[in-house]
Amino acid sequence: MSYELRRRLWAGILILGFFATWEILCLALQVSDLVLPRPSQVFATLFDRLGILWPHVLQTLWTTMIGFVLGVTVGVVIGAAIGVSRTAYDTVYPLLIGFSSIPKVAVVPIFVLWFGSGATPAILTALAMCFFPIVVNIATGLATTEPELEDVLKSLGASKLDILWNVGLPRTMPFFFASLKIAVTFAFVGSVLSETVASNKGIGNVMMTASSNFDVPLVFAGLFLLAGLGILLYVAFSLVEARVTGWATRRQGFASA
């Protein structure tokens, strides 16, 4: 058996083991499903009510994705500005750090006040949650451009935009994709957060309603769905990352080839 296969098999066994331990402990200690449902109950609920849950999943998914796309756009623009301009760095960075320190739960009521409940505050909260890691990573990527290379390009008469486009942005790609994977999970947190506070649709709303009805297995079904979606998107971006920024990791592949 190859090393790779054995590694994957082990990982699979341990993950299954995690759920099995959970199941066994609940049975052994006779934990009520009002406190902590067993994984088997959660999955059963998930399949039983998938028909009802599905529209909510789609709602959460599309608000998250729109918030994420907007967040990425905002993040790239601000990150590029900070990385290129000293003034932007000095003024925008302190403001951003202040903003990112605010717990986003506190911002949701303001969004609701401005835009009413529903999809809009969910999108905005997702945006607010996810753009900061992108800003930081893009700015860092731009700041690490070798000064010698900038000199070479400037002596060729390159404009700031030339340098940004040919050197700065490609160099930030590994940083960018690393931050995308984090940002997409943050975006989920944001939209679900908003749904729990002010929405009548979405997984966050389902979980709120379920918990007030003491339908704890359904609450956990919501959690599992969120975790599953998060993993799915994380994997999707990892695959894109491997294609686009292979040059950053190819060194390892080369060494082992």
Binding site: L149, L156, M173
Partner: protein, 280 residues
């Protein structure tokens, strides 16, 4: 013999002229001088090496010439104008080859063609035809033609530095600025690259300003060697090097070459001890 592009029409006889150029950093009153009033004229087609103790302002002169830095006093004229990049085509290479890791060697070397006028306007149309052939021809000159499709991390330090020279030359600059390009290489690779550099220069005859710590390198490559004093630097010696070309490594063991080397060495040691005494 030489290709037609080697002698652009209307090229000024003086490629670079520093007249009483001085550079100091920091606020007025508390400023630190990096370069004392320095005058230096480099004729078109000359190969000038600048040597001196470390920190003496060699790189400052190079950056002034490239237009990356403005003199605090005095003037710097490149190709008869104050803005270097607009007056002449400039190529630069540093000790760090700074190849972009996401591009092949071919695309790395081609980068200036994407940026410099007039090449940039045709970049999309010609990058797979004319420009590609040009890059390959130049890579062949330095023995890298088989590595055009490789990525930088697949090449050794000496090969990367050859590619770096190609990138500095692909847009046919009339002024080439080199800041210790061979400094990080081992002795044998370095001597090999001197030969490469010499033949590139003989073939194209750009004006070259080479900064180096290596006196043997200066003597081997340059047609003129300028020695600088310790910081804040100024030029204390300026001598022509008339050994016939193409020069060989064997020649560096001749008594005349050794004598030149010895003289330059003494000058720099004097310049260093001067400051040591002044500093004490």
């Amino acid at each position: 013999m030489s290709p037609p592009h080697a002698i652009p029409q209307g090229r000024p006889a003086i490629a670079v002229e520093l007249s009483q150029a001085a550079v100091s950093f920091g606020a007025p009153g508390k400023s630190v001088a990096a370069l004392q009033e320095t005058s230096l004229r480099i004729a078109a087609g000359e190969f000038v090496a600048l040597v001196g103790p470390s920190g003496c302002g060699k790189s400052t002169i190079l950056r002034l010439t490239a237009g990356l830095l403005q003199p605090s006093r005095g003037a710097v004229l490149v190709g008869g104008r104050e803005v270097a990049a607009k007056a002449l085509r400039i190529g630069m290479a540093f000790q760090n080859p700074t190849m972009l890791p996401w591009l092949t060697i071919e695309r790395n070397v081609m980068l200036p063609l994407k940026i410099v006028r007039p090449f940039r306007s045709d970049y999309r149309a010609k990058r797979k035809t004319e420009y590609r052939d040009r890059v390959h021809a130049l890579l062949a000159d330095v023995g890298l033609d088989k590595f055009a499709g490789h990525y930088p991390w697949q090449l050794s330090g000496g090969m990367l530095q050859r590619a770096n020279l190609c990138r500095a030359l692909i847009h046919e600059p009339s002024l080439l600025l080199l800041d210790e390009p061979f400094g990080a290489l081992d002795q044998f690779t370095r001597e090999e690259l001197w030969g490469t550099m010499q033949s590139l220069w003989l073939k194209r005859k750009p004006t070259v300003l080479l900064i180096t710590h290596d006196l043997k390198e200066a003597g081997f490559l340059a047609s003129r060697v300028c020695v600088m004093s310790a910081r804040p630097g100024r030029i204390i010696d300026d001598s022509a090097v008339d050994f016939p070309r193409p020069r060989t490594i064997q020649m560096t063991f001749d008594s005349e070459f050794v004598a030149l080397n010895q003289r330059l060495r003494d000058l720099i040691i004097d310049a260093r001890t001067d400051t040591a005494i002044r500093g004490a």
